[in-house]
Amino acid sequence: MDEKQPSPRPPGGSRRAHEVVVVTTALLTFIPWWRAAAVVLCDMASTAYYVGGIAERAVGEAAVWYIFGVLVFAGALAAVYLESCSMFIRGGVYRVVKEALGGTLAKVSVSALMFDYLLTGPISSVSAGQYLVGLLNILCPHLHIGWKIPVAWGSVAFACLITLYFWRKNVIGIEESSEKSWRIMQMTTVMGVILLAWSGYTLWLRGFDWPSTEAVLSEEALGWLRGSDWMHTVGCLGVLAAFGHSFLGLSGLETMAQVYREIEAPKLPNLKKAAVAIVLFSAVLTGFATFAAVAIVPDDVRIPLYADNLLSGLAMFLEGPLAARLAFQSFVVLAGFMILSGAVNTAIFGSNSVLNRLAEDGILTDWFRGLHHKFGTTHRMINIVVALQLLLIVISQGDVYLLGEAYAFGVIWSFVFMVFAVTMLRFKEHTVREWRVPFNLSVGRLELPFGLAGILAVLLAVAGMNLLTKKMATVSGALFTAGFFGLFTVSERLNERKRREGETLLEKFNMRRAPALGAALPKLARENRVLVAVRDHGNLYPLRRVLETVDLETTDIVVMTSIIAKGFHLEGEASGRMRTEEQLLFTNVLNLAEKYGGNVHPLLVLSNDPSYAIAQAAQALKVQQVVLGASMKIAPETQIERLAMTWGALENPEPVTVRILWDGKELSFTL
């Protein structure tokens, strides 16, 4: 705003805005599809570093083919997630299962999912530690350093440090985290290209034998079926068991649903692009890297020495001078360290998102949703998840195979529930979906989802086999799932009691007092600006129309409401309690913005005159358009009259277009 000599003091009272409060929450930022893909890939593609070793220990060198098979299956599962996101903005396991199968099964499914997320962090960070320690132990003799770091506890120490680093980043907020994921995937892509090219050259030069297709299950991998004849008499059981031991390669897909909320408009098309990128990248990197490792690294050293850092082993056996191989191994470890650390980040982010969904739904008490006073994140949930992950890291004592086997329980059972729920919703929910899993057969008026049924059949078979062949996973998974389910059930009962006592469950917001309207939103940078004035949480039609019609990439949208200054107090800079009416209003504003993937800037102006508040905000923020909803009590042109007066009363007002929107109609004038 211009700094000029103030006009003579007007007689009587002043109606100008008194205080400006900027409403913030960490969840109002949106990311492009390639950053969303990077967030998911930091989990899914990171499995390239450990799935090969874990699967081969269980089923022999045929693991290569089963890993390829699992990664092809990832495409089918990604299609299921696309369908669930086309139905719900927050279309993860919990929401979808709840809609289809009810609250109890939804809690069971999300308990399994939480077990998945809890283990993603430890397996990724411990694996990163294994690679790092392995590299250091190889390099030290060459550098004439007499260190020998104990592999197990050394990897545990590094794992804890990595976890704590990303704990801090997540407390700060998602925007920071997705940027990091993007940088990590850039480095991983470079590493992957070199790995593929150099491995291809090595295979071409030396020739190779195709890995066997016959799965040879180790005693450990037979689990409770050890000693039984079933595996030998029923051949497909071995295939299922082998498939199950390779299922780790699919971890991270659920993050697609969590990250969908943050994807910018157009949402579903962007998610499709992200899904294609995720599946292709994982298949090429994980599949080919594992193949190359089996084909290049000799059998007698591959699993005995490099089971927990297979790609390091691959780097050491490529064709070329030792110095180059050591340098490349260092780069592989560096990239691995970064992407595996990124998976830790994704695990924290994903589990935080899941717990937020539960809290919004009243499963978790309000305490869990308490916002960080500075960053506005749900730091308590983040803290609990990280604490459990650190505990699991220490308990594992650096055993990647143990972590991997336990991990698969949560991965597969959350998928089972998800696909089952999406299938049931085909029969229960008949609204048109923007995307559906293909292979549907119409029989009369009934449509049979053969595609979904096929995917579900595979998952159930593999999940059932896993229960029998992975003892540690079954026991620990069942215990954790039961534990989470118990926690969620108790918490939900406590919340039900509060709801009966009249407490409403709403989005959480932080508030920041701004000294003046002009200083309220320093981040407005786009060339076009629209101010949408809202009042009624049940009527956000004007905001919806704006989100549907403006170019969200070139337009800043400020959503303001004005309340009477009397009776509203802010204590200090960032405290103060928002009234329920404003919470409801801004919760609905936020939900609408999420649906369209548009960034909005909420603003609360304390003033004795809403028209003045709108006029002053519009002038201070240099908007080109002011959008209002129609009043139920006065004619739209009368509504604009007051705004015309207050606009004229400002100092040096620039022309502005005022639009009143209602029920498909519009009245607009330029003042």
Binding site: P8, P10, G12, Q639, M645, A649, T657, W662, F669
Partner: protein, 168 residues
């Protein structure tokens, strides 16, 4: 419930409004003694209707008071802008009142009125943008400093001259 009176969409720009052309010196009134706001409105409407030979004053007064029952026409600059759209009028026409001492707005006791710019305009959708520009321009021109100058002018002719200079 749908909003009342839904006129057609009209996003057009209008030519600038010139306040000096809406008023003449015979329709500038000094109110000494602090009359009630509604009495001042009645007085200005009567003078305006008589001067322009518009017809029965009661009809116009009723329209203005009907509008006064809606969103406030008083600003915190000491300005009040009573107005109405009336069938049969062909153009915008206005009268000005200056109050010494200032008077209170009974509906908003914290605001006081030093100047009242009353205008009547045709009740025609084509005039809605003109109406808005008139309101905007009046509020823009009649800021506290300018209202002080008008009060210091002492005669209707001098008030009219000042308005002409400011926005003629």
């Amino acid at each position: 419930m749908a909003p009342k009176d839904t006129p057609p969409v009209s996003p057009k720009r209008v030519p600038p409004v010139v306040l000096g052309k809406l008023i003449d010196p015979t329709l500038v009134v000094f109110f000494d003694g602090g009359p009630a706001k509604n009495d001042a409105i009645k007085d200005l409407v009567g003078r305006l209707v008589a001067a322009k030979n518009l017809g029965p004053a009661d009809l116009f007064l009723a329209k203005v008071m009907e509008r006064e029952a809606g969103p406030s026409t008083t600003l915190d600059t000491g300005l009040c802008i009573p107005h109405a759209r009336v069938q049969g009028l062909q153009e915008v026409t206005a009268a000005l009142g200056l109050f010494h001492p200032e008077i209170a707005d009974p509906l908003q006791p914290d605001l006081s009125i030093r100047c009242m710019f009353l205008f009547l305009s045709p009740d025609d959708p084509k005039f809605i943008p003109v109406n808005l520009q008139v309101l905007r321009r009046i509020a823009q021109v009649f800021q506290p400093a300018f209202i002080e100058k008008l009060h210091a002018a002492k005669t209707p002719q001098k008030v009219f001259d000042l308005i002409q200079q400011k926005d003629g």
